[in-house]
Subunit: 221 residues, 2 copies
DNA sequence: TTATTTTGTTTGAGCGCTCATGCAAACTAC
DNA sequence: GTAGTTTGCATGAGCGCTCAAACAAAATAA
């Protein structure tokens, strides 16, 4: 099963490619686990390789540099986060208030709000200022999220017949609020439980949108 | 004029102590500058010594370990932050709403909200999970701040005849909001200017305390 | 005062170690 | 066989930290 007439059939080893994807995934997950256990500066190619049960050389083989591997890990972390809120948004229906509530609720879902996940976020953010590559990745994904928040806020304001020019500021504020509560959870100071943080956020949303108190009512989780 | 019979005249070298304090300060400032320039993992005893114009050995002489030096730098950063909001609070008078506004306004004062200052915050926070010493320092100072915020919120709620049991949640939320906006300024995503961030925060405060719109009005800076 | 000792400070070379990366060889699936 | 993997040791750079020695200031003695 190979000579298919003249053309150079570029069917390059399907299995090998799958293997590569699997290895890359294995290494990325190992990197995330190592960051959680050892912190980002404490994460070395050796700790990642050990965690993955592979040799150190294979990490270099698939990601040329350590920074490349870490960048891939950051992207994976953002992808999971984004997938989470996009699903919540899809499931939320058409009511703008429900969509806004869904976006906020998604931020405190255990899968993205666990202590482990927080460690990863702050580890990368802490180095973002001295690593342009990390900063660029963060910026790209953060834009997706704030666009979604702003759109939901704008739709809600329009529905209520209020000034939609406030949408950007409100979106940024809501985003800031959730991020800041994440920080409190991470540092274990003040608010420490996701459910509590969600309740606080909803309390703020009720104040901002007093026309729709029910939607931002007691957290139904 | 000297023989006081038995007693050992304890006149202990005043100049030397001053010298030590000056050196320590010099090294701490150098460490902060190095963190801003090179990031925390990129900060070594060598970069700090170079920045201070001193030898590497002298850094070890005054702080026994690198971690000790970095911890001192984090404390200095928090002290400056705390001094800033305490002064603002003292200057704010007795009106609870004014006191709350002062606390928030202080957070976006250039001296604590510059990009350089943000880099330092997030550098330390990023490593707090793997460095118990950093975490303890952060926790201690964060408690001071949230106590002050909670107290201001409680006083305002009492004045308005509202339920004061909400004070803790509101304080945590306000703190979260400012911290989250700091993150946006730091990552240069969304809100990027302190004045803008302050306006957003005040917009939220007006929603939370509609009885006192004027106090949380357009930022007067 | 001047000389000497004591005490505190500063230096920079260097030790032991870990790191990211390079690389030659071994292995494996076609 | 051959091309794609995988290994794990070699390499050289850089790390925190040690330390003997040099230096400076203060205390003491003359």
């Amino acid at each position: 099963m190979s000579q298919d007439s003249g053309g150079v059939q570029p069917r390059p080893r399907k299995e090998r490619t799958e293997n590569a994807a699997r290895r890359r995934g294995q290494l990325i997950e190992a990197a995330l686990r190592s960051i959680i256990e050892n912190g980002l500066p404490g994460t070395t190619l050796a700790t990642v390789a050990r965690e993955a049960g592979l040799s150190q050389g294979v990490a270099v083989f698939y990601f040329q540099t350590k920074e490349g591997l870490l960048a891939a890990a950051l992207e994976r972390h953002y992808e999971r986060y984004e997938e989470n809120w996009r699903q919540a948004l899809d499931a939320a229906g058409d009511d703008p208030a429900e969509r806004l509530a869904a976006l906020v609720r998604a931020d405190f879902h255990p899968s993205v709000c666990s202590r482990e996940a927080q460690i990863v976020w702050h580890a990368f953010w802490g180095e973002a200022s001295s690593r342009p590559l990390f900063n660029r990745i963060a910026d790209r994904f953060d834009t997706h999220r704030s666009d979604a928040l702003e759109a939901a806020a704008a739709a809600l304001l329009a529905e209520l017949g209020r000034d939609t020019s406030e949408a950007r500021a409100l979106g940024a504020g809501i985003e800031g609020l959730t991020d800041g509560l994440w920080l409190q959870i991470y540092l274990a100071s003040g608010i420490t439980r996701p459910a509590e943080a969600l309740a606080v956020t909803f309390r703020f949303l009720r104040a901002l949108f007093p026309e729709r108190p029910a939607v931002f009512g007691a957290p139904g989780d």
